[in-house]
Symmetry: C2
Subunit: 141 residues, 2 copies
DNA sequence: TTTGAAGTCTGTAGCGATTACAGAGTCAAG
DNA sequence: CTTGACTCTGTAATCGCTACAGACTTCAAA
Protein backbone atom coordinates (compact mmCIF):
# COMPACT_ATOMS: atom_id res chain seq x y z
CA UNK A 1 0.00 0.00 0.00
CA UNK A 2 1.82 3.08 -1.14
CA UNK A 3 -0.49 5.46 -2.95
CA UNK A 4 -1.32 8.37 -0.75
CA UNK A 5 -4.84 9.30 -1.66
CA UNK A 6 -5.88 5.71 -2.32
CA UNK A 7 -4.59 4.38 0.95
CA UNK A 8 -7.98 3.68 2.36
CA UNK A 9 -9.52 2.00 -0.70
CA UNK A 10 -10.66 -1.58 -0.71
CA UNK A 11 -9.01 -4.18 -2.82
CA UNK A 12 -11.15 -6.30 -5.02
CA UNK A 13 -11.20 -9.47 -2.93
CA UNK A 14 -11.81 -7.39 0.16
CA UNK A 15 -14.82 -5.73 -1.42
CA UNK A 16 -16.11 -9.05 -2.65
CA UNK A 17 -15.78 -10.60 0.79
CA UNK A 18 -17.57 -7.73 2.49
CA UNK A 19 -20.47 -8.05 0.14
CA UNK A 20 -20.41 -11.78 -0.25
CA UNK A 21 -19.82 -12.33 -3.92
CA UNK A 22 -17.08 -13.83 -6.01
CA UNK A 23 -14.23 -11.41 -6.70
CA UNK A 24 -14.29 -12.41 -10.38
CA UNK A 25 -17.85 -11.21 -10.50
CA UNK A 26 -16.74 -7.72 -9.50
CA UNK A 27 -14.35 -7.58 -12.41
CA UNK A 28 -17.00 -8.96 -14.71
CA UNK A 29 -19.52 -6.30 -13.72
CA UNK A 30 -16.94 -3.63 -14.42
CA UNK A 31 -16.25 -5.15 -17.83
CA UNK A 32 -19.91 -5.17 -18.82
CA UNK A 33 -20.47 -1.65 -17.59
CA UNK A 34 -22.43 -2.25 -14.39
CA UNK A 35 -19.74 -0.84 -12.16
CA UNK A 36 -17.64 2.23 -12.91
CA UNK A 37 -13.94 1.58 -13.39
CA UNK A 38 -12.31 2.41 -10.05
CA UNK A 39 -9.09 4.35 -9.72
CA UNK A 40 -5.85 2.36 -9.69
CA UNK A 41 -2.76 2.41 -7.54
CA UNK A 42 0.57 3.05 -9.28
CA UNK A 43 0.95 -0.71 -9.63
CA UNK A 44 -2.37 -0.87 -11.39
CA UNK A 45 -4.43 -2.32 -8.57
CA UNK A 46 -8.06 -1.29 -8.32
CA UNK A 47 -9.17 0.63 -5.24
CA UNK A 48 -12.85 0.74 -4.42
CA UNK A 49 -14.67 3.26 -2.28
CA UNK A 50 -17.99 3.34 -0.50
CA UNK A 51 -19.76 4.35 -3.67
CA UNK A 52 -18.59 1.29 -5.55
CA UNK A 53 -19.72 -0.83 -2.66
CA UNK A 54 -23.14 0.76 -2.69
CA UNK A 55 -23.48 0.21 -6.41
CA UNK A 56 -22.34 -3.37 -6.22
CA UNK A 57 -24.90 -4.07 -3.52
CA UNK A 58 -27.55 -2.55 -5.74
CA UNK A 59 -26.61 -4.83 -8.60
CA UNK A 60 -26.55 -7.92 -6.42
CA UNK A 61 -29.92 -7.15 -4.87
CA UNK A 62 -31.42 -6.62 -8.29
CA UNK A 63 -29.98 -9.96 -9.38
CA UNK A 64 -31.52 -11.59 -6.32
CA UNK A 65 -34.86 -10.32 -7.55
CA UNK A 66 -34.17 -11.98 -10.89
CA UNK A 67 -33.54 -8.91 -13.02
CA UNK A 68 -31.19 -9.68 -15.89
CA UNK A 69 -28.05 -7.63 -16.33
CA UNK A 70 -29.62 -5.53 -19.02
CA UNK A 71 -32.50 -4.62 -16.75
CA UNK A 72 -30.03 -3.79 -14.01
CA UNK A 73 -28.21 -1.51 -16.42
CA UNK A 74 -31.47 0.24 -17.16
CA UNK A 75 -32.23 0.65 -13.48
CA UNK A 76 -28.81 2.15 -12.87
CA UNK A 77 -29.33 4.50 -15.76
CA UNK A 78 -32.58 5.62 -14.20
CA UNK A 79 -30.82 6.23 -10.93
CA UNK A 80 -28.12 8.27 -12.60
CA UNK A 81 -29.97 10.13 -15.27
CA UNK A 82 -33.62 10.42 -14.52
CA UNK A 83 -35.13 12.73 -11.97
CA UNK A 84 -38.42 10.91 -12.28
CA UNK A 85 -37.21 7.32 -12.28
CA UNK A 86 -40.20 5.75 -10.61
CA UNK A 87 -42.46 5.50 -13.61
CA UNK A 88 -39.98 3.60 -15.76
CA UNK A 89 -38.76 1.57 -12.81
CA UNK A 90 -42.28 0.55 -12.00
CA UNK A 91 -42.90 -0.61 -15.56
CA UNK A 92 -39.71 -2.61 -15.53
CA UNK A 93 -40.62 -4.23 -12.24
CA UNK A 94 -44.13 -4.98 -13.43
CA UNK A 95 -42.88 -6.61 -16.61
CA UNK A 96 -40.39 -8.63 -14.65
CA UNK A 97 -43.03 -9.63 -12.16
CA UNK A 98 -45.09 -11.01 -15.02
CA UNK A 99 -42.11 -13.08 -16.17
CA UNK A 100 -41.53 -14.38 -12.69
CA UNK A 101 -45.15 -15.42 -12.45
CA UNK A 102 -44.95 -17.16 -15.81
CA UNK A 103 -41.93 -19.10 -14.61
CA UNK A 104 -43.71 -20.06 -11.43
CA UNK A 105 -46.63 -21.32 -13.48
CA UNK A 106 -44.24 -23.37 -15.65
CA UNK A 107 -42.55 -24.87 -12.64
CA UNK A 108 -45.84 -25.67 -11.00
CA UNK A 109 -46.88 -27.61 -14.05
CA UNK A 110 -43.66 -29.58 -13.78
CA UNK A 111 -44.15 -30.05 -10.08
CA UNK A 112 -47.64 -31.41 -10.53
CA UNK A 113 -46.56 -34.02 -13.07
CA UNK A 114 -43.44 -34.98 -11.16
CA UNK A 115 -45.28 -35.33 -7.88
CA UNK A 116 -47.80 -37.50 -9.60
CA UNK A 117 -45.25 -39.83 -11.18
CA UNK A 118 -43.23 -40.14 -8.00
CA UNK A 119 -46.36 -41.20 -6.17
CA UNK A 120 -47.30 -43.63 -8.89
CA UNK A 121 -43.78 -45.06 -8.93
CA UNK A 122 -44.40 -45.89 -5.28
CA UNK A 123 -41.43 -47.90 -4.02
CA UNK A 124 -39.93 -48.36 -7.47
CA UNK A 125 -40.46 -52.10 -7.63
CA UNK A 126 -43.19 -52.17 -10.24
CA UNK A 127 -42.53 -53.89 -13.53
CA UNK A 128 -43.48 -50.88 -15.63
CA UNK A 129 -42.35 -47.38 -14.76
CA UNK A 130 -44.92 -44.58 -14.69
CA UNK A 131 -42.27 -41.92 -15.27
CA UNK A 132 -40.86 -43.61 -18.34
CA UNK A 133 -44.32 -44.36 -19.66
CA UNK A 134 -45.33 -40.77 -19.18
CA UNK A 135 -42.29 -39.63 -21.13
CA UNK A 136 -42.91 -42.09 -23.92
CA UNK A 137 -46.55 -42.03 -24.21
CA UNK A 138 -48.62 -39.78 -22.35
CA UNK A 139 -50.00 -36.45 -21.70
CA UNK A 140 -46.93 -34.94 -20.06
CA UNK A 141 -48.39 -31.52 -19.57
CA UNK B 1 -34.66 -39.32 -52.95
CA UNK B 2 -32.89 -42.25 -54.45
CA UNK B 3 -31.89 -44.77 -51.81
CA UNK B 4 -34.10 -47.79 -51.94
CA UNK B 5 -34.35 -48.96 -48.38
CA UNK B 6 -34.37 -45.44 -46.99
CA UNK B 7 -37.06 -44.17 -49.27
CA UNK B 8 -39.61 -43.75 -46.54
CA UNK B 9 -37.40 -42.07 -43.94
CA UNK B 10 -38.01 -38.58 -42.69
CA UNK B 11 -35.64 -35.77 -43.33
CA UNK B 12 -34.42 -33.72 -40.42
CA UNK B 13 -36.59 -30.67 -40.91
CA UNK B 14 -39.57 -32.89 -41.57
CA UNK B 15 -39.01 -34.73 -38.28
CA UNK B 16 -38.52 -31.47 -36.44
CA UNK B 17 -41.72 -30.01 -37.84
CA UNK B 18 -43.76 -33.09 -36.95
CA UNK B 19 -42.58 -32.91 -33.40
CA UNK B 20 -42.42 -29.19 -33.08
CA UNK B 21 -38.83 -28.43 -32.34
CA UNK B 22 -36.01 -26.65 -34.10
CA UNK B 23 -34.23 -28.81 -36.64
CA UNK B 24 -30.87 -27.72 -35.24
CA UNK B 25 -31.88 -29.17 -31.93
CA UNK B 26 -32.24 -32.59 -33.53
CA UNK B 27 -28.68 -32.47 -34.78
CA UNK B 28 -27.51 -31.22 -31.40
CA UNK B 29 -29.17 -34.09 -29.56
CA UNK B 30 -27.46 -36.52 -31.88
CA UNK B 31 -24.12 -34.85 -31.24
CA UNK B 32 -24.45 -35.07 -27.47
CA UNK B 33 -25.59 -38.66 -27.58
CA UNK B 34 -29.29 -38.33 -26.84
CA UNK B 35 -30.38 -39.60 -30.22
CA UNK B 36 -28.76 -42.47 -32.10
CA UNK B 37 -27.08 -41.54 -35.36
CA UNK B 38 -29.60 -42.33 -38.08
CA UNK B 39 -28.67 -44.04 -41.33
CA UNK B 40 -27.69 -41.83 -44.24
CA UNK B 41 -28.59 -41.72 -47.89
CA UNK B 42 -25.75 -42.05 -50.37
CA UNK B 43 -25.49 -38.27 -50.41
CA UNK B 44 -25.03 -38.27 -46.66
CA UNK B 45 -28.51 -37.09 -45.70
CA UNK B 46 -29.95 -38.39 -42.44
CA UNK B 47 -33.11 -40.51 -42.62
CA UNK B 48 -35.14 -40.91 -39.46
CA UNK B 49 -37.63 -43.66 -38.65
CA UNK B 50 -40.44 -44.05 -36.16
CA UNK B 51 -38.02 -45.10 -33.46
CA UNK B 52 -36.04 -41.88 -33.73
CA UNK B 53 -39.27 -39.97 -33.56
CA UNK B 54 -40.33 -41.81 -30.44
CA UNK B 55 -37.00 -41.15 -28.79
CA UNK B 56 -36.99 -37.49 -29.71
CA UNK B 57 -40.45 -37.11 -28.21
CA UNK B 58 -39.19 -38.74 -25.05
CA UNK B 59 -36.31 -36.29 -24.79
CA UNK B 60 -38.52 -33.27 -25.43
CA UNK B 61 -41.10 -34.36 -22.86
CA UNK B 62 -38.36 -34.87 -20.31
CA UNK B 63 -37.05 -31.40 -21.10
CA UNK B 64 -40.54 -30.01 -20.61
CA UNK B 65 -40.48 -31.48 -17.14
CA UNK B 66 -37.22 -29.64 -16.55
CA UNK B 67 -34.81 -32.57 -16.56
CA UNK B 68 -31.35 -31.51 -17.70
CA UNK B 69 -29.74 -33.30 -20.61
CA UNK B 70 -27.63 -35.42 -18.32
CA UNK B 71 -30.69 -36.64 -16.47
CA UNK B 72 -32.37 -37.38 -19.78
CA UNK B 73 -29.35 -39.43 -20.77
CA UNK B 74 -29.67 -41.39 -17.55
CA UNK B 75 -33.36 -41.99 -18.15
CA UNK B 76 -32.66 -43.24 -21.65
CA UNK B 77 -29.98 -45.54 -20.31
CA UNK B 78 -32.50 -46.94 -17.85
CA UNK B 79 -34.92 -47.53 -20.67
CA UNK B 80 -32.30 -49.31 -22.73
CA UNK B 81 -30.30 -51.20 -20.18
CA UNK B 82 -32.24 -51.79 -17.03
CA UNK B 83 -35.01 -54.30 -16.63
CA UNK B 84 -35.98 -52.70 -13.35
CA UNK B 85 -35.75 -49.04 -14.27
CA UNK B 86 -38.43 -47.75 -11.97
CA UNK B 87 -36.41 -47.55 -8.79
CA UNK B 88 -33.68 -45.38 -10.25
CA UNK B 89 -36.14 -43.40 -12.33
CA UNK B 90 -38.18 -42.67 -9.26
CA UNK B 91 -35.12 -41.41 -7.37
CA UNK B 92 -34.19 -39.20 -10.27
CA UNK B 93 -37.68 -37.77 -10.46
CA UNK B 94 -37.84 -37.24 -6.71
CA UNK B 95 -34.51 -35.39 -6.69
CA UNK B 96 -35.61 -33.28 -9.61
CA UNK B 97 -38.93 -32.57 -7.93
CA UNK B 98 -37.03 -31.21 -4.95
CA UNK B 99 -35.07 -28.89 -7.23
CA UNK B 100 -38.21 -27.71 -8.92
CA UNK B 101 -39.75 -26.93 -5.55
CA UNK B 102 -36.65 -25.03 -4.49
CA UNK B 103 -36.85 -22.95 -7.65
CA UNK B 104 -40.51 -22.25 -7.03
CA UNK B 105 -39.68 -21.08 -3.53
CA UNK B 106 -36.98 -18.78 -4.91
CA UNK B 107 -39.32 -17.31 -7.47
CA UNK B 108 -42.05 -16.81 -4.92
CA UNK B 109 -39.67 -14.79 -2.79
CA UNK B 110 -38.97 -12.63 -5.81
CA UNK B 111 -42.64 -12.37 -6.63
CA UNK B 112 -43.51 -11.23 -3.14
CA UNK B 113 -40.95 -8.43 -3.16
CA UNK B 114 -41.75 -7.36 -6.70
CA UNK B 115 -45.45 -7.30 -6.10
CA UNK B 116 -44.85 -5.20 -3.04
CA UNK B 117 -42.68 -2.64 -4.81
CA UNK B 118 -44.99 -2.37 -7.78
CA UNK B 119 -47.85 -1.61 -5.43
CA UNK B 120 -45.81 0.91 -3.52
CA UNK B 121 -44.68 2.57 -6.75
CA UNK B 122 -48.37 3.17 -7.41
CA UNK B 123 -48.66 5.26 -10.54
CA UNK B 124 -44.96 6.02 -10.74
CA UNK B 125 -45.28 9.70 -10.02
CA UNK B 126 -43.78 9.74 -6.55
CA UNK B 127 -40.60 11.70 -5.98
CA UNK B 128 -38.73 8.78 -4.47
CA UNK B 129 -38.89 5.29 -5.98
CA UNK B 130 -39.64 2.35 -3.71
CA UNK B 131 -37.99 -0.12 -6.09
CA UNK B 132 -34.76 1.83 -6.30
CA UNK B 133 -34.77 2.42 -2.58
CA UNK B 134 -35.29 -1.25 -1.93
CA UNK B 135 -32.35 -2.08 -4.15
CA UNK B 136 -30.13 0.48 -2.52
CA UNK B 137 -31.12 0.21 1.00
CA UNK B 138 -33.40 -2.26 2.22
CA UNK B 139 -34.28 -5.72 3.11
CA UNK B 140 -34.60 -7.11 -0.40
CA UNK B 141 -35.37 -10.65 0.69
C1' DT C 1 17.45 -10.04 3.67
C1' DT C 2 15.16 -13.47 1.71
C1' DT C 3 11.45 -16.02 0.84
C1' DG C 4 6.88 -17.51 0.73
C1' DA C 5 2.03 -16.82 0.73
C1' DA C 6 -1.50 -14.28 -0.76
C1' DG C 7 -2.98 -10.88 -3.23
C1' DT C 8 -3.34 -8.46 -8.12
C1' DC C 9 -3.23 -7.96 -13.20
C1' DT C 10 -4.70 -9.49 -18.20
C1' DG C 11 -6.79 -12.38 -21.44
C1' DT C 12 -9.08 -16.44 -22.48
C1' DA C 13 -11.89 -20.67 -22.06
C1' DG C 14 -15.43 -23.20 -19.88
C1' DC C 15 -20.36 -24.26 -18.35
C1' DG C 16 -25.69 -25.68 -20.43
C1' DA C 17 -28.82 -25.87 -23.96
C1' DT C 18 -29.62 -24.33 -27.62
C1' DT C 19 -29.67 -21.24 -31.96
C1' DA C 20 -27.69 -19.22 -35.97
C1' DC C 21 -24.71 -18.75 -39.55
C1' DA C 22 -21.27 -19.53 -43.48
C1' DG C 23 -20.08 -22.02 -47.34
C1' DA C 24 -20.66 -26.05 -49.80
C1' DG C 25 -23.27 -29.75 -51.76
C1' DT C 26 -27.94 -32.13 -53.35
C1' DC C 27 -32.35 -32.64 -55.29
C1' DA C 28 -36.83 -31.98 -57.65
C1' DA C 29 -39.89 -29.02 -60.21
C1' DG C 30 -40.68 -25.66 -63.89
C1' DC D 1 -30.85 -24.98 -66.76
C1' DT D 2 -32.14 -22.53 -63.19
C1' DT D 3 -34.36 -21.74 -59.04
C1' DG D 4 -35.45 -22.66 -54.49
C1' DA D 5 -35.54 -25.51 -50.76
C1' DC D 6 -33.39 -28.60 -48.63
C1' DT D 7 -28.92 -30.95 -46.57
C1' DC D 8 -24.16 -31.23 -44.86
C1' DT D 9 -20.09 -29.58 -41.64
C1' DG D 10 -17.96 -26.79 -38.28
C1' DT D 11 -17.99 -22.83 -35.64
C1' DA D 12 -19.63 -18.75 -33.05
C1' DA D 13 -23.12 -16.45 -30.43
C1' DT D 14 -26.21 -16.18 -26.40
C1' DC D 15 -26.34 -15.33 -20.62
C1' DG D 16 -24.05 -14.79 -16.26
C1' DC D 17 -20.79 -15.93 -14.43
C1' DT D 18 -16.45 -18.89 -12.90
C1' DA D 19 -11.88 -20.56 -13.41
C1' DC D 20 -7.82 -20.84 -15.08
C1' DA D 21 -2.62 -19.49 -16.80
C1' DG D 22 1.27 -16.75 -16.38
C1' DA D 23 3.15 -12.63 -14.78
C1' DC D 24 3.57 -9.08 -11.29
C1' DT D 25 3.13 -6.87 -6.35
C1' DT D 26 2.73 -6.57 -1.55
C1' DC D 27 3.43 -7.79 3.08
C1' DA D 28 4.85 -10.43 6.99
C1' DA D 29 7.58 -13.94 9.11
C1' DA D 30 12.01 -16.42 9.48
Amino acid sequence: MSDGSLRKGLQRAELARRIGCNHETVRYYEKVGLLPAPPRTTAGYRRYDANHERRLRFVLRARELGFCLDEVRTLLRLVDESDQPCSEARDLAAAHLAEVRAKIADLKRMERVLKDVVVRCADGTRPECPLIETLFGGKAA
